[in-house]
Amino acid sequence: METALNFDLEEIPPMEMLSALQRHCNEWIEQSINRSLLPMVSVDIQGARGQDFVGAGFRNISEVAVQGTIGDFGFCSFGDGECQVEGNVGHFFGHSIASGIIIVRGHVKRSVGALGTGGLIAIYGNAGDRAAVGMQGSDVVIRGSVANYAGLGMQSGTLIVGGSAGLHLGHGMRGGTIYIRGEAESISSDIEEHRIREPDRLKIGMLMLKSSIKLVGKEFRVYHSVHQEE
């Protein structure tokens, strides 16, 4: 049984929203016959006007829809769910994302997907500095352009850039893959271009499909870390 919850951020702060959700999920589990099933909860969040920590800690929420602009550390440590944001988001969006899919129909500031270990973040607009910094397994798709130090210290995962990149692309990268369609102002010596192959095109296509973005894989260039073990 799916339940729908509505929150207005002008009335309830993000921390209380998380507590209310957890209480609801715990009550649902207590009352359900099969306690191994997770609750099907969809959440609609209104009144987002740049508040920080919106959606931080959300887990096992089947659908989250946010109308408005989110501040910093939005959907930090998100997992097991799908989220759509209709607006711009701030710094450290999707920090430590564990799983699930987050789609942002707007721009994002610096450090999107920082330290993410799984899941997918799709940004329809542009991203600021340090996109995917220290990423450890997530996939980040930026339809627009990224600023400086994209892929900084990436350990694994995938960063797809539909537009251009700033300075020092891939600096400190030790693993993972960067696909870029436009030009980068400078490429770090920690990464090197490889020939794009069919598995790369398939991966790009699949991630674009999940992100509902229309771009094809053959237009991209692919970069791996020079320190990566084969």
């Binding site: 800690g57 910093d72 550390f73 450290f92 920090h95 430590s96 564990a98 340090r130 910094v133």
Partner: protein
Amino acid sequence: MTGNSKLDSPQDKWLAVQSPMRCEPLLARMDPLLREWSNEPTNACAIQASNGLGGFTLAQPLFTRLTSDAGLSQKSQRHLLLELTSFGIAWLGNVVESNDRKLQSQSECELSELYRISPLQIDDPIELNRFQNAAAIEMQLVGLPFQTLANSRRARWTPNLPIDISKHDQLGKKVEALRVVSGGNCPMGAAVCPGAVYDDVRFLIDSGFDFITLLVDVQYELSQSCSLRLAPLEQTLEQSIKAVQDSGAKTKILVSANLSDGLQMFRCLQMGASAISIDAFIANSKPTDAVPVKDTFGSVLSAYAPASAAASSYAWIKPAMTQLIEDIRDCAIYAGLQ
């Protein structure tokens, strides 16, 4: 137990430097028959979350980092915790698996969780599983990102901010994000190796940490002489306490130092520390004929030994800890601060 305000005059401070501990003067000790002498522990250390709702209280102002720093195996860690948990001592580490009922009962698991401080390294993501049920979260502001250096190397303890922090105000935001994700009731701490102590402590206080652990000495193995000295204790503690006082905050200072007896620890508490690590004490108290815990042939044999035999290899801890706690309480009574 914090720094005693009665002893703040210049003469008292001079006396404090010369004497091993600061004591109440005789004039304050009149009429001992009317004083109440309690056998209950009075050395509790209470660490509160900034919202005032969460936090935990230690029965003793003691904690250990051996469970995180000493590279103990899961089994050794469980045995160590079995011995220490009954004393209400905080420990740094991740969740201890309780699937082996012979080693740890469910209630003992819950008890050990009561005092667990969950570490967050500079390159760690914020994982909910690790912080659930933790008594506190402590950011380890040391180490090189994504490097696996041997514990005995000094570079392993390089002071550093988390890899995602590139501006001074972002650390405070990250601390706040951690609070939100962990439910708001977990005190936030930072472990830092002393460098520019005063400035670092002020910065961490401004970033919103509830307690700060100073890593003056680190015990990288459960063995004598396996300790690294990173900074002088007295100057470090003095500067950090001054930083806390100047900021007007209620941040607690915890100290990891190579202190091997109750008197030294009590002296440290008098200087303003809220809790002291017992790592060096445990390592120095370990009998030399105990079952080795390093990767040796002996430890391989002990892995196949019956549980009782393995457990007895840590049986020396309880009497040593009992003696230590008695010593600290003894010093408190002697100093007139009980």
